[in-house]
Amino acid sequence: MSLVVLKTGLLAQLHDRGRYGYGAHGLTHGGPMDEVAHCWANWLLDNPLDSATLEITYGQLTLECKQRCAIALTGADLGATLNGRAINPWQQLALNPGDQLCFATPVKGLRAYLALTGGIQCKKRFGSASTVKREKVGGIQGDGSAIKVGDLIAPDQPEHLHPHPHPHPHPHPHPHTRSMPAWAIPTYSNTIELGLIPGYQFSAIPAVQRAIFFSSQYLVTDKIDRMGYRLKGAAIETGINGIVSEGIALGAVQVPSDGQPIVLMRDRQTIGGYPKIGTVFSLDLALLGQAKPGDLVNFRSIDIADAENRRVLFERNFT
């Protein structure tokens, strides 16, 4: 029930749904850049949604199966092959010892998610598996390091901690195979529209500047990471010099004095003093997490009630 890492690429990290409850200590939430793909990967294997998955950014990762196991693959198409044969994401796969799973480079999207039946084993820090390199927390060893050559991707086996009368509750991969509802598979386009919930300093920003923001197309620059996506386009003059530093929510759109928006992602700093025009809706943020330099982004104002409806409907998929 495990895989060994033969080769690593740009970045592969473990993530569950994030680390909550330590914001007052300055710890960020972390979590999958594409939460939608993360959740479906776990659902395909009937795992709890908070189970750790492997977030593979860009590709160039090779894994070898050591013991028979079931995995699920969702998110970006990174040109994956199984023993040299091309495979599509958004499905469950049974692997046998010796099988090699290789990720090449992005075909569509940027990040793929690999789930393992039972979740991936790791040393949780502050209640979470999510890897935050700069905070030195999360990942297999719990020290913030990314996946390395030789690492073992093994299932979480709580029975080791709590002796269980049935030592092998999952002798075989999940007996019934779940498959993705076709409507739930997202398309990753090079032009994306993001719902923005107006908030924070929104009403203090001049109406003309807000109109520029919503009517302009922004380019995803090459300054993108798990903390934030820097965009480039029509400058927004907020007229606000700085604000008293305040808590930053997932998806908050910061507008510094150069007027170029920065969308704050999973590993964002907890507090900040730049004005913010609002917050990108979480499920749309998952699409931005799949965006690459050169992609184009538009913002559309959405009501918080719409965001709430879409979020509740999304969660209902898994109950």
């Binding site: 909550y20 409850g21 330590y22 914001g23 007052a24 200590h25 300055g26 710890l27 939430h29 820090r125 502050f126 700069r134 905070e135 030195k136 927390v137 919930i197 908030g199 924070y200 300093q201 009403s203 203090a204 008293v244 530093s245 305040e246 808590g247 930053i248 929510a249 997932l250 998806g251 908050a252 700093q269 907890t270 507090i271 900040g272 917050t279 809706f281 979480s282 918080i304 965001a307 709430e308 979020r311 509740v312 969660e315």
Partner: protein
């Protein structure tokens, strides 16, 4: 700006004022403590800062409207509570001033037109409030410093500031909990650990607490495990 505003489908921000004062800081702390003592079950996380608290809630357990009502009630309780500066133990941080290679004491002395000793006396001669924790885990924003110690951030931040560096920027002071890049002026070093990664208590400093700096000699700094 409304005092209680929605941020996204599972986040609200609650404001207690627009300016940084002790009275506002006490309300922030009272409100944050109240949320965790009375409503921990539905709260995922909070980020208390100078004048506000960002609240993320678990929308699987409570809806946005019930959460708004709960926040309004807690906000009202905080506003109507007579807050006295709680006799919280003042946290003491022992500092050896002016040591190490990353050391801006001389620069600060020049900029402020003071002697090294005057800077030490003024920095250690008052207590501070932890207004916020952020930037990096356990990094506390301590205010406000004596007016004569105001010094703007370095134009070019350093790529590496050692853990334990006691520093100044504008009207704030801080201790770097771990080695990180940073643009504050370093005036000393503490041997004390600002974060304990193996404890759920984690950070030595907590928002709302008071802090005092105690000057120590280099010999004592080294004897207590301080490293240069």
């Amino acid at each position: 700006m409304p005092e209680i505003s929605p941020v996204n489908e599972n986040t609200w921000i609650v404001y207690f004022g627009q300016t940084i004062t002790d009275a506002v800081a006490m309300k922030v702390k009272h409100f944050n403590d109240l949320l965790w003592s009375s409503h921990a079950a539905v709260i995922l996380d909070t980020v208390p800062s100078y004048t506000s608290v960002l609240v993320t809630f678990n929308f699987r357990l409570i809806d946005r409207f019930a959460m708004a009502a709960l926040l309004r009630k807690a906000h009202q309780i905080t506003l109507s509570t007579e807050l006295v500066d709680q006799a919280l133990e003042t946290l003491v941080i022992e500092v050896c001033y002016g040591i190490g290679t990353v050391n801006d004491l001389e620069y600060v002395a020049q900029y402020c037109g003071l002697s090294h000793q005057q800077i030490i006396d003024r920095h250690a001669g008052q207590s501070y409030r932890v207004y916020a924790i952020g930037f990096s885990p356990g990094f506390g924003f301590l205010g406000n410093t004596h007016k004569s110690l105001f010094v703007p951030r370095r134009k070019t931040p350093r790529l590496k500031v050692p853990a334990g560096s006691v520093s100044l920027a504008d009207n704030q002071s801080a201790v770097y909990p771990s080695e990180s890049p940073g643009g504050w002026h370093v005036i000393g070093r503490t041997w004390q650990k600002m974060v304990n990664w193996d404890s759920d208590e984690f950070a030595y400093l907590k928002t709302g607490y008071k802090v005092r700096f105690e000057p120590i000699a280099e010999a004592e700094f080294l004897a207590k495990g301080g490293q240069l």
